[in-house]
Symmetry: C2
Subunit: 299 residues, 2 copies
């Protein structure tokens, strides 16, 4: 399942409760676009904000609508005890893969992160995607740690943060080449950070784990197809056209608030679809997003 587009939709809220009606519309849109897989409850899907009961309900809702499109579920939590409970619940609810970041309050040491993956991979029966996102976990994987954790059983993929993949000296290209030598062949390498997705796929990443694709799957699928062709110029040009959007992502500490606002503008969700204290874009940033959605034909 770790190829092409793995789409990361929102988990929309309304008055502090999950808005399943809106969520089902979001999943239906992804199903219709024939995405390769869906990650319900990635970072944009707010997995650490959900109770286990909510995690089960969102998993069941996703799997019900996604049908034969495989659904991955984020299971990260501060205590390994809860990660294991989440893993069990997600598997029972029909998840086909699990996404696990080294979630922390007290930032973790390498040995603690290895211990987490060791315990979890020993207990699961579906593939795990190891998820590096230092912006939310304050943890970066060394090459040596990647070597260790990808040798554990049931590891199917790693999700690396976005990095410049452009030319031969770009750090993303160097990192990807280094990881290819370290990571076993059966473990897919996925790119995240949508700004870097098109070039990451062209540089040889196996899949694009995409927040943008959680709302605009056709746009990302088209870019992936072009990225993987012998003439990736169209994908690179499209990614450059989206620069105003990447700038909004950067100014808003990632894509989550931007996509939540876009989903509301497009009528998928209520005007404010985030749980407090999180807030959608306001003022100038919201106006910029409205202009972007009007000018660029995202779908």
């Amino acid at each position: 399942m770790f190829t092409g587009l793995c789409a990361f939709p929102l988990t929309p809220f309304h008055h502090e409760k999950i808005d399943f009606h809106a969520f089902e519309k979001l999943i239906g849109n992804l199903k219709q676009a024939n995405v390769e897989s869906i990650c319900a409850m990635g970072s944009t899907g707010l997995y650490p904000y959900l109770s286990r009961d909510e995690l089960v309900k969102v998993t069941e809702s996703s799997v019900g609508i996604a049908g034969d499109t495989p659904v991955m579920v984020g299971i990260g939590s501060l205590r390994t005890y809860d990660v294991l409970k989440n893993a069990e619940a997600a598997q029972q609810a029909g998840a086909k893969a699990l996404l696990l970041a080294p979630v922390s309050y007290h930032p973790l040491h390498d040995a603690e992160v290895f211990g987490l993956y060791e315990k979890v991979t020993a207990e699961i029966s579906i593939p795990l995607c190891i998820y590096e996102n230092p912006g939310v976990t304050q943890f970066s994987f060394s090459d040596e740690l990647y070597r260790q954790v990808t040798q554990l059983p049931n590891v199917g993929a790693i999700k690396i943060p976005g990095m410049p993949f452009g030319d031969n000296n770009a750090n993303g290209k160097i990192r990807l080449s280094s990881l290819r030598n370290i990571v076993p062949e059966h473990v897919a390498i996925g790119v995240s950070g949508d700004k870097f997705g098109a070039l990451g796929m062209h540089a040889g990443c196996d899949l694009w784990l995409s927040v943008l694709g959680g709302l605009f799957p056709n746009t990302v699928r088209t870019m992936i197809a072009s990225s993987q062709s012998t003439s990736p110029q169209a994908a690179i040009a499209q990614s450059e056209r989206l620069t105003p959007l990447w700038d909004l992502f950067a100014r808003n500490k990632g894509g989550m608030r931007v996509m939540a606002t876009a989903a509301a503008i497009l009528g998928y969700t209520e005007a404010n679809c985030l749980p407090h204290p999180l807030q959608p874009l306001q003022g100038e940033d919201k106006q910029k997003l409205e202009a972007i959605l009007t000018q660029l034909s995202l779908d």
Copy 2:
């Protein structure tokens, strides 16, 4: 209650469950030392790792043993909804104050943090301590935000991170003087970051919120008394004597793992008193800590 030493004990674990027997010994030690207040479930007390049921039980246990020593309780959580539930539960269980950091997975914006404190302070009936700890929350308070949040009702104190308070040009001294002009007089300013505690108290902080004091309350109380006297040299010298300990704190991303290991060495807790994936000190760091505990007479 926001004067002198506010002691931050561990919440010790054994086999992934709270070890109430060990916890009661830790609280008993603080009670015996006549600390001015106890913060059960600060960062070192692992508040974000606990379920609401655990928060209630730890609060009840603390209050039962602390008697007339006031107990503050950490209520932070990712969703405001849960923070409010925690606040209600902690108040009902006998807490005399609440500690609230802007806990995040997606790092927060200023407006979101203000919104959090606005909602929470409107619903509580005991004082709140606003807790800045960028090392765990990835959020720093601007002076303007401090001005806004300390005007909210029920705010009793702010807990600022440790900074050099040594001479007139040190940034801690400048910040403290700036905050004194911004923060209403009834709001206490507390120093954390034990390395900076002695000089922070000498520079005029109202209280020292101390991880070291959660295990060694007499040591910290003696330093506070000297810091606030006309001849603070003894406190400054004692803080300098503790440099090997501050170095261990820095190498281990804060004092939590160091104090958990010290508590085990001293027989308060089981050898590993942290919930997985957190780990106590190992190898060389553990040996260094054993040497420190032997050489320095902490109590």
